[in-house]
Amino acid sequence: MVRFENVGLRYGMGPEVLRDISFELRPGSFHFLTGPSGAGKSSLLRLIYLALRPSRGLINIFGQDVITLPRPAIQDLRLRIGVVFQDFRLVEHLSAFDNVALPLRVAGVSPSRIRSNVSELLNWVGLTNQIDFLPATLSGGQQQRVAIARAVISRPQLLLADEPTGNVDNKIAMRLIYLFDELNKMGTTVIIATHNKDLVSRFSHPVIRLEDGEASVVDQSERVYA
């Protein structure tokens, strides 16, 4: 599903923020991505959702070498990836409904199907009454749920979430992780970047730990296997 081989990343002429990153995520797996602030968690996620190109190494996603892929093919790959951004990145002038509908519109889904799917999902995340609200009129937690709904509306094969529990209390954070867990059980590969160690320890999913620009994959019993 996702394979990194000796991947390095530097911004401009600066030092490498990620060094010799190598791991492989199997389809249907669930991983936490942890590490201290500035360890490169967001950069690693950006490499996976193809917003950045590595300075060196090989990245293979859905069996395709993304370094050599032409631009239209990269966009096709992105349609199969759902992303919950740390800052949500909701489109300010669009309602909650329209924000969630975006991936379906981009994929050319019919308006009637968009209407039913989006309404159902917004109902599921508890935003039925905020369907026509603009992001600025929603609370932080509501915005986050809109961002999550937008990330999962097209049933992506790979779901990435950057600090999705950063703005919510522990109770809601647990609910969100259970939501991702449910999606994972339906076959979606999930990677969640978080610095909430307490949250990570409550689940048995393996962890990609980033430290000083280097990655190691550990299971919850701290056994290093990659």
């Binding site: 917003a51 966009q75 199969r80 990145r89 489109v91 669009l94 309602s95 329209d98 991936p103 981009v106």
Partner: protein
């Protein structure tokens, strides 16, 4: 739900609000320039058609001799008769008619004044010759046939018509060049407003990209918006141009000069003007599309 037909709020950009007015001004100027080009083209065509197949033969009075005027008039009349006879006997000549002295004076009236006492003025006699444009003789042949007749000058209007046509064609080319320059200026304006729109909506465009939108999906929003803006501006510009042309046509209608062009457009010429807003909106749409695709190609 679906409050926005498009993901990018391009209508709310300050630069795009100005675009229809800029396009209106450009279409207005371009429509006037095109109308001038079409009128001039029609006028030149009319001159060509009106004067082809015609010649004017002048029999000049011999004022160098000290003979009495009556004798010179008689000689002149004899030369006129010979000229008419020769011309009428020339194959391809449809008609050869002499203008009476009174008719010739009436032609000179604008310069000499009505009712001028110029009876003793010796003026050339004129013969209006119509030849078959296809099979008729050319000016050289006619000159050769009339060579023996004293004081004969043959004019097929070619010399002055050539200069006039050259001038008219230059006006036409300049008018079309103006249309071309206005089109370039309109394209440059669209490139500027489109780039400005891309900068303003960079965040939204990036989100669209990250969720998988192809470049053409984003370009389609810009091009449709630009086309609508172009069409709005184009229609306003065309209406203003039509009003201007109608006023000019009414003013020109009062001028009664043989070579002065009538500022009246034919139905197909109006058709060409009406097509301008459509053509301009298509150009604007394509310019916006190309600009967006080029800009997006530079994004990750």
């Amino acid at each position: 739900m679906f409050r926005h037909p498009f993901d990018l709020p391009l209508d709310e950009d300050s630069s795009s609000r100005l675009l229809p007015w800029i396009i209106a001004l450009m279409v207005y100027l371009a429509a006037l320039a095109l109308a001038v080009a079409m009128v001039v083209d029609a006028v030149v065509g009319g001159w060509d058609q009106g004067l082809s197949g015609t010649m004017t033969v002048q029999i000049m009075p011999d004022i160098s001799t000290s003979e009495p005027a009556e004798k010179r008039w008689a000689k002149n009349a004899k030369a006129l008769d010979r000229t008419l006879a020769l011309l009428r006997g020339t194959p391809g000549v449809i008609s050869a008619e002499s203008l009476s002295v009174e008719e010739t004076f009436s032609l000179l009236a604008p310069w000499l004044g009505e009712g001028s006492q110029v009876d003793d003025l010796e003026i050339p006699r004129l013969v209006d010759v119509r030849v078959d444009p296809e099979t008729g003789p050319d000016i050289t042949t006619v000159k050769q046939r009339l060579m023996g007749i004293p004081g004969v000058l043959v004019d097929d209007h070619g010399l002055w018509l050539e200069s006039l046509v050259k001038l008219a064609r230059s006006v036409e080319v300049i008018a079309l060049a103006i249309v071309f320059c206005i089109s370039l200026a309109a394209m440059a304006t669209v490139v500027f407003t489109t780039r400005s729109g891309i900068t303003v909506h960079h965040g939204t465009i990036e989100v669209l990209h990250l969720i998988g939108a192809q470049d053409v999906y984003i370009a389609r929003q810009f091009q449709f918006h630009a086309m609508v803006q172009g069409l709005r501006g184009g229609v306003v510009g065309l209406v203003l141009a039509a009003v201007t042309l109608a006023i000019l046509g009414a003013l020109a209608g009062g001028i009664d000069l043989p070579l002065f062009p009538a500022l009246v457009l034919s139905p197909w010429q109006w058709g060409a003007l009406v097509a301008m807003p459509v053509a301009s909106s298509v150009i604007i749409m394509m310019t916006a599309r190309i600009t967006v695709l080029r800009s997006l190609a530079k994004m990750p």
